[in-house]
């Protein structure tokens, strides 16, 4: 029993030790290198047990390289455009390892080292590329005039493959592909003004809004005055129109009245009577209240009142008062 237990325990320990030290499992998205005393053994030279389960020597170091997309961002850096405007730029890069052996040899498999290389490369290229574009080519309501996509592609391409070497035509400077890396995408995640410029932009924006506010205010006053004046103008027009119309109505009334009266004055006798009648009406209207009328007793129509009755056929009637022989003053 004692031997069995010890044997079993030893066997289990040995199996576990073997599995841990002599085998490894590779993930589908990984590329695994083995470091055998400084000699790199690539994946296709490794011995596979089954699936992605491989043999290795206990002394082999397993170097796992994730071949999927990695991310990195550059620090926010100040860049001057060709127009002399400063902008703060931060770019992100999506990158992957395309040559694990080269990657391991140049960076010792360190993502941090790879990021440092890429940050330097991309940071410099961003400065160089943006310096040849104007601000209007980055911020513009006309999408066709924006060159940001073009800049991003140039930066990604030159960072990966290297830039044309100015000193040696036809040759290129080293790119991150020389480190086994490939930049898949670059994007400017932040593009803003540096703090000092931002304060100046604030002042400009404030001034623009102040101008706009003043314009609103004066426009309001102006509109108000125009509206009041228009109202007064309209009122005058309305009144004058009404006066005109009222005159027409009155005239029409007069005309119609005359037509009516003319209709009943076709004969001379009627016209004569009407004239006499209207003269009576005039007198009646003219001699209103508070009029003192001095009448002689020998007026035709009064004579009969103060004298004995006679043959009236011989008398002459007179409505108008006789002029007094003596001055008579009538005062009101």
């Amino acid at each position: 029993m004692r031997r069995t237990v010890i044997g079993l325990f030893t066997a289990i320990v040995l199996v576990i030790v073997f599995l841990v030290l002599c085998t490894f499992v590779r993930k589908p998205y990984e590329y695994v290198l083995l470091d055998r005393f400084g000699h790199i053994i690539e994946q296709d030279q490794q011995t596979r047990i089954m699936y992605n389960w491989y043999f290795k020597l206990p002394t082999d170091s397993v170097i796992r390289v994730d071949t999927r997309l990695h991310m990195d961002t550059t620090p926010l850096q100040e860049v001057v455009t060709s127009g002399g405007d400063s902008i703060s730029v931060r770019a992100y890069s999506a990158w992957r390892i395309v040559d694990p052996v080269k990657f391991y040899r140049t960076t010792t498999g360190s993502d941090t080292r790879a990021k440092q290389i890429m940050e330097q490369k991309i940071g410099g290229l961003i400065q160089a590329k943006l310096a040849s574009h104007k601000l209007e080519e980055i911020f513009n309501v006309d999408d066709s005039k924006i060159h940001t996509d073009e800049i991003e592609k140039e930066v990604a391409d030159e960072a990966s493959n290297g830039s044309p070497d100015a000193s040696a035509p036809g040759r290129r400077t080293p790119g991150v592909k020389d480190q086994g890396l490939e930049i898949v995408q670059i994007g400017f995640s932040r593009m803003a003004f540096p703090p000092a410029n931002a304060n100046a932009v604030y002042a400009r924006m404030s001034a623009e809004r102040y101008k706009q506010a003043a314009a609103y205010k004066s426009q309001g006053d102006s509109d108000a005055k125009a509206i009041v004046a228009a109202g007064e103008n309209d009122a005058i027009k309305i009144r004058s129109e009404a006066q005109k119309k009222a005159g027409e109505i009155r005239g029409e009334g007069d005309r119609k009245a005359l037509e009516i009266l003319a209709g009943v004055q076709e004969s001379p006798a009627a016209r004569d009577f009407y004239e006499y009648w209207k003269s009576m009406e005039f007198v009646k209207t003219s001699l209103a209240k508070n009029t003192y009328l001095v009448l002689p007793t020998d007026a035709d129509w009064l004579k009969s009142l103060f004298t004995a009755p006679t043959n009236t056929a011989t008398q002459q009637g007179a409505a108008a008062p006789a002029s007094p022989s003596q001055p008579i003053s009538i005062a009101k």
Binding site: M1, V25, P28, Y29, M50, R68, L69, H70, M71, Y92, T112, F139, D142, F188, S189, R190, A192, F193, P195, A198, M205, R209, Y210, Q212, A213, Y216, K217, G220, D223, A226, I227, A230, G231, D234, A235, I238, A242, A246, E248, I249, G253, K256, I260, A269, D272, F273, Y274, Y292, L293, V294, P296, T297, D298, A319, A322, P327, I328, I330, A331, K332
Partner: protein
């Protein structure tokens, strides 16, 4: 006893040697397991030294006394068993008293207790020092700086690699410790005396193996191994210290109920207190459990059940791990020994085979570590955001009002982080926004095969934050999309009528960007939750009308105020306009009405007069001329007298006879222009 004493001094020397080796390693490599191992060696050297001292005193007493110690109780039957019977701990004092002339040196029992308790405190303190200054500090620093390499060895800023020399130091210390453990094992010659030294090593051997293993793993650059080893050492020191503390306080008299026999602390000072009682019990249970003990008849219930329980737990655990549940709203990629059925189609599209892509439900698989599930939430919406939300006003936590100009002024970093530039040609404007994004995994195959799930480290002034790479990709692409959308729209368009269009543009750009890297991520919704001009700073400005130039946000609010004020002025003017025209219209209506009245009056009067004349003169033309003349004259007379009547009735009348002569008429009154009678 002499051999036990010799071994104790040898162990002390060995432990000091180990401490010296590890001290050298600690100075050179500054790594946790070396420092922890050194502290353990020093702490245990104190214990072993005390045990050696106790054995020396016991040996001297035995040599000086005639009677051998073994006859006074005989510690042959095990640890501390067989000492002479005693009514209490201080019975040994009598022995001291009786042997004063023999110059037997011994230690007072109370002083023994004090020494053991001080030793316990030292061990516990060392445990705390290891836990706090070595492990906690290192892990805290690593947590705050996830982007920096974990400090396996060396200082935080300057990590060093554990090389072959370090390997020799760590493994050498562990081997030396194991040799000491082996040398000090309990033999027939040391039973009853060597337990204190040996139990010391029995406790510590696990810790020293951990130190050795951690050194190997540090050589292989495995992180956290050093801290785990340090933790094991600290735990063991704590355990030993606590037991010594209990031993220093417990009674050594006989207790019948507990089958405890009395121990004479005067005959063998310190050693019983420095021994570990529970360790022997544990060793016995373990040995009996796995059948390494002697006869099976001696096995207890726990020992008998232990092997079966362990096997049952392993079997049940493996069986349970075969049943995997993929929850609703997620799929799982089955990795069998690291392999998944990834199919690359001719057009470059990547798919996962049905056997590798597990849908929601119960699945039977091989247990770990053969089959491993990588779960991908395809239904659950995840969120990302761009910009910062407007602050809430103090004291209004439950009332989420947000104002452009309330609250503290933004810092420079906030300004840079949150501002977006608009596309107003010639005069770009600045805007602050908060955009909320909901996304999910739409294509798990692409998501699994193309996007790394390792950490992305984001540095800020508040520290370093670790995010999954896919989260950071969505965030950075979202920042890109918002920056681009703002850059191609004017301020008025963004803030007024084009907000929806900007949102759609933004979502389109973001989706295109994510699709370009085959991320498999789908943007479900993108909403501009807040959009406002930057607050900026209100600054003194003598040229400004109020002596203060407002920041953009305040100025924007002022524009709105002035626009409303202008509208108010217009409305007031319109009121005046309406009043004027309405009054004029009233006047016009009145004038027209009067005219119409005049017209009606004139026509009516004419008609009346015409009617009257028609009635009076009607039919006259048909009469004889004489009669007609008569009638016409009569009509005039009637008219005359009726008019006379009408004239005379209302007026003042004065009838004078011509014979009256000179008459002067005056009217009295106050009018100065009216002629007055003479003398008035």
């Amino acid at each position: 006893m002499r051999r036990a004493e010799t071994l104790a001094w040898a162990a002390l020397a060995g432990l000091l040697a180990i401490a010296a080796i590890l001290l050298a390693g600690g100075i050179k490599y500054d790594t946790t397991p070396f420092w922890a191992g050194m502290m353990m060696a020093l702490g245990q050297a104190l214990v072993v030294g005390l045990a050696g001292y106790g054995l020396r005193l016991a040996r001297q007493a035995e040599e000086l006394e005639d009677a051998p110690v073994s006859t006074r109780g005989g510690p042959r039957d095990g640890l501390g068993i067989g000492f002479r019977m005693s009514m209490g701990d201080d019975r040994g004092g009598e022995t001291v008293g009786t042997s004063t002339e023999s110059e037997v040196k011994t230690i007072d029992t109370g002083f023994q207790r004090l020494l053991v308790i001080i030793t316990a405190i030292v061990l516990v303190s060392l445990s705390v020092v290891i836990s706090w200054s070595l492990i906690w500090n290192t892990i805290s620093w690593a947590g705050a700086n996830p982007d920096k390499p974990f400090p396996i060895a060396g200082s935080f800023d300057k990590p060093v690699a554990v090389d072959e020399l370090g390997l020799v130091i760590g493994l050498g210390a562990a081997v030396l410790y194991a040799i000491l453990y082996w040398v000090t094992r309990i033999t027939r010659q040391t039973v009853g005396y060597g337990e204190a030294v040996n139990s010391n090593f029995t406790i510590g051997i696990t810790g020293m193996i951990a130190v050795g293993a951690a050194t190997v793993l540090a050589y292989l650059r495995m992180t956290y191994a050093a801290e785990i080893a340090g933790g094991i050492v600290a735990f063991l020191l704590l355990l030993q210290g606590l037991e010594l503390f209990v031993n220093g306080l417990r009674t050594y008299s006989a207790i019948d109920e507990l089958d405890q026999e009395a121990i004479d602390l005067q005959a063998l000072p310190l050693v019983p207190m420095l021994s570990s009682f529970w360790l022997n019990g544990l060793k016995m249970i373990f040995a009996q459990s796995v059948g390494l003990a002697g006869s099976t008849e001696e096995r207890g219930v726990i020992a008998r059940m232990m092997p079966r329980a362990i096997v049952a737990v392993i079997v049940i655990g493996l069986a349970a791990d075969c049943f995997r549940v993929v929850r609703p709203g997620e799929v799982a990629v089955l990795e069998r020994l690291g392999s998944a059925d990834i199919v690359k189609q001719a057009d470059g599209k990547v798919t996962l085979g049905a056997d590798s892509l597990l849908q929601p439900g119960l699945h039977i698989t091989f247990p770990w570590p053969i089959d491993n599930l990588f779960r991908i939430p395809t239904g659950a919406l995840q969120d990302a955001h761009v910009g910062v939300e407007l602050h809430e006003l103090p004291g209004m936590d439950k009332i989420p009002f947000e104002f452009w100009t309330a609250g503290p002024e933004p810092t420079t970093e906030q300004q840079v982080q949150t501002q977006f530039v608009t596309g107003d040609t010639g005069s770009p404007q600045l805007l602050e926004t908060y955009v909320a994004i909901l996304w999910r995994v739409g294509d798990p195959a692409k998501f699994y095969t193309h996007l790394s799930h390792s950490d992305f480290f984001e540095k800020s002034s508040e520290g370093t934050q670790a995010l999954p790479v896919y989260d950071e990709l969505v965030r950075q692409c979202a920042y890109f999309a918002v920056t681009r959308a703002m850059a191609t729209h004017s301020l008025d368009n963004i803030m007024l009528n084009g907000r929806l269009e900007v949102e759609q543009h933004c979502q389109r750009v973001l989706q295109d960007k994510l699709d370009a890297v085959d991320s498999g991520i789908v943007i479900e919704d993108l909403t501009i939750k807040d959009l406002h001009p930057p607050r900026g700073h209100d600054v003194a400005d003598a040229t400004a009308p109020d002596g203060r130039r407002l920041g953009p946000a305040s100025q924007f609010e002022d524009v709105v105020s002035q626009r409303e004020f202008a509208d108010m002025r217009r409305n007031q003017a319109m009121g005046i306009q309406v009043t004027s025209t309405t009054l004029a219209q009233g006047d016009a209506a009145s004038a027209i009405s009067e005219a119409e009245g005049y017209q009606a009056d004139r026509i009516g009067t004419a008609e009346a007069e015409a009617g009257q004349m028609t009635s009076m003169l009607g039919g006259m033309q048909a009469l004889e001329p004489d009669k007609r003349d008569l009638l016409e004259k009569l009509a005039k007379i009637q008219t005359k007298y009726r008019s006379l009547q009408d004239v005379l009735a209302p007026v003042n009348k004065v009838v004078l006879d011509r014979r009256v002569g000179d008459v002067q008429l005056y009217q009295t009154g106050n009018n100065p222009f009216v002629p007055r009678p003479p003398g008035q």
